[in-house]
Symmetry: C3
Subunit: 155 residues, 3 copies
């Protein structure tokens, strides 16, 4: 099955593709690579999720926030590329977790995004390399920020 068909079948509710919060572009194509800027968890109504894990929210809520970042990245991809079928695979997910300094479950939190990408792109193409770590702080005090790299299909 193709990514776009799988995406439609999942009946996911995407947030609006976010406007940049500074001097950058949300997505850039260079050759067959799609570089995606650090994305925040945008809700369907355009608001942004807030809270530090271990202080304001727990790791389950953090994982849901990571899934919401994944949905926001999908919104950016579709808005810029037209169809997810133009994507061959996930190359990299880079997950920044806003947590207290004693937090140890960053991989669990970022799985919220990675599991979404498996649902949409399949096991073969939805799993790339990844780093997950805890930051000191994030823009708007969001729980998770994620940047990513995708590979495009030959045209």
């Amino acid at each position: 099955m193709e990514h776009e068909e799988r995406f439609v079948e999942l009946n996911l509710q995407l947030p609006p593709a976010p406007e940049p919060k500074g001097v950058y572009t949300p997505l850039l194509r260079v050759g067959n690579h799609i570089y995606v800027s650090g994305h925040l968890p945008v809700n369907s109504d355009g608001t942004i999720q807030r809270g530090k894990i271990g202080k304001d929210i727990d790791q389950e809520e953090g994982k849901l926030a990571a899934r919401q970042v994944g949905l926001t990245i999908l919104a950016t991809l579709i808005s810029n590329l037209g169809s997810l079928n133009r994507i061959k695979r996930v190359i990299k997910v880079f997950g920044m977790v806003n947590a207290t300094t004693d937090f140890e479950k960053q991989p669990y939190v970022i799985n919220g995004c990675s599991e979404l990408f498996v649902e949409v792109f399949g096991r073969e193409n939805g799993i790339g390399v990844r780093s997950a770590f805890g930051v000191g702080s994030l823009p708007e005090n969001v729980p998770v920020e994620i940047e990513a790299i995708f590979e495009l299909n030959e045209e």
Copy 2:
């Protein structure tokens, strides 16, 4: 106008291109990509700016520090490539902000570098993807560290 002409017209004062502070090279060319190591804010006299945002300095000073990191990256580019005209465009800016854990304006701070790159490379080629986030600590307690990727022109 070409990047190098625009750069000369801006009459910017560059710091000396920094020596590596460890076992790495400041810049590496791979194909048509220029990978740039994490750079610190080096002043024109070779000293390094220090201070944590929200504790030692404020966000305006942080933004100026990010601009100084941008100038330091330009010094590395010119020292290694000879001319900025060899560069096609900014691909990515990765901005690490040394701030207190309640800080929320990382994009504002990193704009200090991004706005400089727009001045030098123009709107079309000076704006790439970006992440901005708050670290726990930085080398020499600098306020900002930035790494970057540029694309080279065909030769």
Copy 3:
């Protein structure tokens, strides 16, 4: 001398290549680039080193942990590629240091990994670009996490 010969001569003790701790792959090849996920310091017996620098361990122990992360990355490379001779060079080392917020010697710590890569890949090919910075927290409270990019030889 070739990388694999140099590696054998060094008589290094490698840990087992780690299983992913989440939904990702430890290594992905895209064209002639090898992307390596964030790796933790795995000991030869498969246990993981723990501790925050400046609180639980000092910077010398942190540097040894970074070397151990380097050995763990080598284990992943050999397990996936068969031989280190398939690698042309180190492109990038991205070093995340779990330290107290007043720590300033991240480059010294990450040298533990970079010096190992020079031993194995030589000065010409073992030194790439690098960033080193302090995180707020890391998975399992390890002292160091490192991701990397390598270039493959033409085949």
